[in-house]
């Protein structure tokens, strides 16, 4: 008894161990090979990534796009740390003594022009209803023809004599955060929804496919702008209010319009993937629908989705800008700095400036349009370059 429980010590002569054969040997080999180091193991995905990077980095435009995208990423982080207090963002209201700061829109200035050498018009001169201020008053940016002065960057509003009281810099830096957050979350949510629906439709086929694709057709046949507007109006009617709720509402409304595109792309991809041998093999070894989709079909249908996502991330701020431009300013919560809305509202004020004064005698506040417009344009075009480079790098047929 005791001999059997005694640990095998070095004292005893070593018993000859029979070399295992067959399955046992294979299993042992597998077990031994497991603790190999990371870099010893083969990593087909990593190799693929390296190859993709190689082809991507040979494309000059794509690299330039990547650099600009990285710049925006840095600006995003800077914007997060940038402490723009509400007072700093709304200092024009304080200096003008117009209305309590709570009643100011960020990025929704109206522009008043007045001739050189004369006193600025009274604040009420810029409003249609001077007697009482409505709940949300658009702040006034005064442009004097005599003072085509410094750009309205930084806190110029601290000196009372400065005419440019709208702090564009603060608006743009904070706008980076909001624009990027909104567009990335919209595109991400739309892509996830589209992936799920597209995979289910493509894999199961038949009636499921028919119903889901008709649903996609329905959403695709309403213009995106209109669908977003209608959804936002409906949700506001149902009582969605408050800062964060309204941002969530915008994201949700865009997601409603965004998923059908992805669903279509994914379905097309899944219809091809579904017929391939490895899917057949997975099914032959007993995998059910959910597992086949998750483990085999989904990873192989992702690339076109990534490319489309990177294209769309640049489009979302443009769409928001369009919606604000046609006058649906209620889509964004008040006090929300966002590139598109700053550009749109500044552009909107152009005809009223130009039609009230002859050309040459008044100053067009071009910086209000140029800088937010440049942010929109650079972001969209750089993301486009990256997407194009990605597509070229991922699709062997397009490699040059």
């Amino acid at each position: 008894m005791s001999g059997a429980t005694a640990p095998p010590s070095a004292a005893g002569p070593r018993e000859p161990v029979a070399e295992p054969t067959g399955g046992e040997r294979l299993r042992r080999q597998l077990r031994q090979s497991r603790p190999r180091r990371f870099w010893d193991r083969p990593h087909p995905q990593l190799a693929q990534l390296k190859r993709t990077w190689y082809f991507f980095s040979r494309n000059g435009l794509a690299l330039a796009g990547l650099v600009i995208v990285l710049f925006f990423a840095v600006a995003f982080v800077y914007g997060l740390t940038y402490s723009a207090s509400p007072t700093q963002l709304q200092e024009y209201c304080l200096t003008e003594g117009l209305a309590p700061p709570g009643n100011c829109y960020i990025g929704f200035p109206t522009v008043c022009t007045y001739p050189a050498g004369t006193a600025p018009p009274s604040p009420s001169g810029c409003y249609a209803t001077p007697a009482t201020y409505p709940a949300f008053v658009a702040p006034t940016v005064r442009v004097s023809p005599a003072q085509f002065g410094p750009l309205p960057f930084g806190s110029l509003a601290t000196s009372g004599s400065t005419q440019y009281v709208y702090n564009l810099y603060a608006g743009l830096v904070k706008g980076t955060v909001w624009s990027l957050t909104m567009s990335v979350s919209i595109v991400g949510a739309g892509a996830v929804l589209g992936l799920v629906i597209g995979c289910v439709a493509g894999y199961y086929g038949g009636l499921t496919d028919e119903v889901l694709m008709r649903l996609t057709d329905i959403f695709l046949s309403v213009p995106a702008i209109l669908l977003v507007i209608v959804v936002v109006i409906a949700a506001s009617n149902l009582g969605v209010s408050g800062f964060s709720n309204r941002i969530l509402l915008v994201i949700g409304a865009f997601t409603v319009t965004w998923w059908p595109l992805y669903a279509r792309i994914v379905r097309g991809q899944v219809l091809v993937t579904r017929e391939q041998k490895f899917v057949e093999a997975a099914r032959a070894s007993g995998a059910r629908g959910g597992r086949v989709i998750r483990r085999h079909i989904l990873p192989n249908s992702l690339y076109p989705v990534f490319v489309q996502m990177s294209l769309d991330v640049g489009t979302v701020p443009l769409l928001i800008a369009s919606i604000v431009f046609i006058g649906f300013t209620t889509i964004l919560p008040t006090h929300l700095p966002e590139w598109g809305s700053i550009a749109a509202v500044s552009t909107e004020s152009l005809p009223s400036i130009l039609s009230t004064c002859a050309i040459g005698s008044c100053v067009v506040p071009w910086w209000q349009i140029l800088f937010p417009g440049l942010a929109l344009f650079l972001f969209a075009i750089s993301v486009n370059f990256v997407a194009d480079g990605l597509r070229d790098a991922l699709d062997p047929r397009l490699r040059r």
């Binding site: 309403v222 213009p223 409906a234 046609i326 749109a344 039609s355 075009i381």
Partner: protein
């Protein structure tokens, strides 16, 4: 399969889509509170219910001490007292028979343009739709005229300067917001064509008026002649909005013999149409180029070349036919975006089309939304897109007979 069988099948496929879109719109309309719905879709001239005074205690009809009999009457007339499925059926029936409600009595549109007050929504949209159709036709023509040759050129001269510049154009078309591009074009044109700031056509008018706005500037004797109605417009422009007899302003001006005015109206469309075309060309160009590149390497093209055909003929006849198919398919896919750009472009250029009416009805400041017009124009745009998709599919089946067999 016979062509007409294909057409019938294609049209039948549209039915679920139309039902679905209208159901979504119905659900959205159902979120509007009852007083607002009565205000929006059932105006005083038809119901006798006056616009709600905010100080009126009976506004929401919750106060039992002052029940408003007209309110109940309106509720019954709109079918708001019926169960939701019945309301849905009623909405479908009314929408399909073009009873889209009335424009508001006190919304921002009504306050700005009193002649649009209390009118049937379909009628108001019908006043402005012809202008949008003219603009869309012009923009489509420009798109095809620009995109097809440019796409073919950039495929033939692949990786040469012409290819690079057209690709750059395609990128910038994606990335520039329409309103910025439009404003740039508008003010650039104003400054370029009249440095003094005065209109070369209408003395005494600012040059902006030559490009901004669809109707001729009031009291421009050169264009309008002396026979003007009380709005300062030619008498065939009723209310300043409604053009007679066809409704299409350019055609009507020509019909009434005012050639200068017709030309002016057409020229005013050119710039916005170019801006719209720029954005659409950006999308189209890439597809035309890619499809041409694919086809140029196929056997039948090589055969054509080997037979000694002229290279121009090969590009136009053999490879080019394929790019035509692609153009039509992509136009069908992007038509929703194409139409969705109209509110913006009409707002930039102050053009009186359906998009501008939609933009006006969305203004919350000066009186509030006009729900009738918002939902009416959404429905209209959807119908336009669905119709365009049918036409595109039929054209595609005509061009590529293989499609009919599926």
């Amino acid at each position: 399969m016979q062509m007409w069988v294909y057409i019938v099948r294609r049209v039948l496929l549209v039915v679920p889509v139309v039902i679905g879109v209208m159901t979504i719109l119905f659900l959205m309309i159902n979120t509007i509170a009852v007083p607002e719905r009565i205000e929006s879709f059932y105006p005083p001239s038809h119901s006798g219910v006056q616009p709600w005074d905010p100080t009126e205690p009976c506004k929401n009809n919750t106060n039992l001490n002052c029940p408003n009999p007209l309110y109940h009457q309106a509720e019954v007339a709109l079918g708001l007292n019926k169960p939701v499925p019945v309301q849905w059926a009623l909405y479908m029936y009314n929408s399909l028979t073009f009873r889209w409600g009335y424009t508001n009595n006190a919304s921002s549109v009504a306050n700005l343009y009193p002649s649009l007050r209390d009118q049937p929504v379909t009628e108001v949209l019908a006043w402005f739709l012809p202008y949008t159709i003219e603009l869309a036709t012009l923009a489509l023509l420009l798109t095809i005229v620009i995109a097809l040759p440019l796409g073919r050129l950039s495929a033939v001269y692949r990786n040469r300067p012409i290819d690079h510049s057209s690709r750059l154009m395609s990128f910038s078309g994606y990335a520039l917001p329409t309103f910025l591009l439009g404003s740039l074009a508008l003010y650039g044109a104003v400054v370029l064509l009249s440095p003094t700031g005065h209109s070369p056509i209408c003395p005494g008018q600012p040059a902006l008026n030559d490009f901004w706005g669809s109707w001729p500037p009031a009291h421009c004797a050169t264009l309008l002649g002396s026979n003007l109605n009380s709005f300062g417009y030619p008498p065939w422009l009723i209310n300043g909005f409604q053009s007679t007899p066809t409704g299409f302003p350019t055609i009507d001006a020509a019909y009434h013999g005012q050639w200068l005015l017709a030309l002016d109206t057409l020229l005013r469309m050119l710039l916005p149409a170019l801006v719209i075309a720029y954005g659409t060309v950006a999308v189209l160009l890439r597809y035309v180029r890619n499809s041409m590149l694919e086809v140029m390497n196929l056997d039948f093209v090589r055969t054509a070349r080997a037979n000694g055909l002229d290279e121009g003929v090969v590009v136009r006849r053999h490879a080019g036919r394929n790019s035509m198919n692609v153009t039509i398919t992509v136009m069908g896919l992007t038509f929703a975006g194409f139409i969705g750009g109209f509110p913006v472009i009409e707002e930039v250029f102050n053009l009186w089309g359906v998009g501008r009416i939609l933009a006006l009805s969305l203004q919350e400041t000066n009186g509030g939304f006009d729900f009738g017009l918002i939902f009416g124009s959404t429905l209209l745009f959807t119908f336009l897109i669905v119709a365009a998709n049918i036409i595109v599919d039929i054209l595609y089946a005509y061009l590529d007979p293989r499609v009919r067999l599926q």
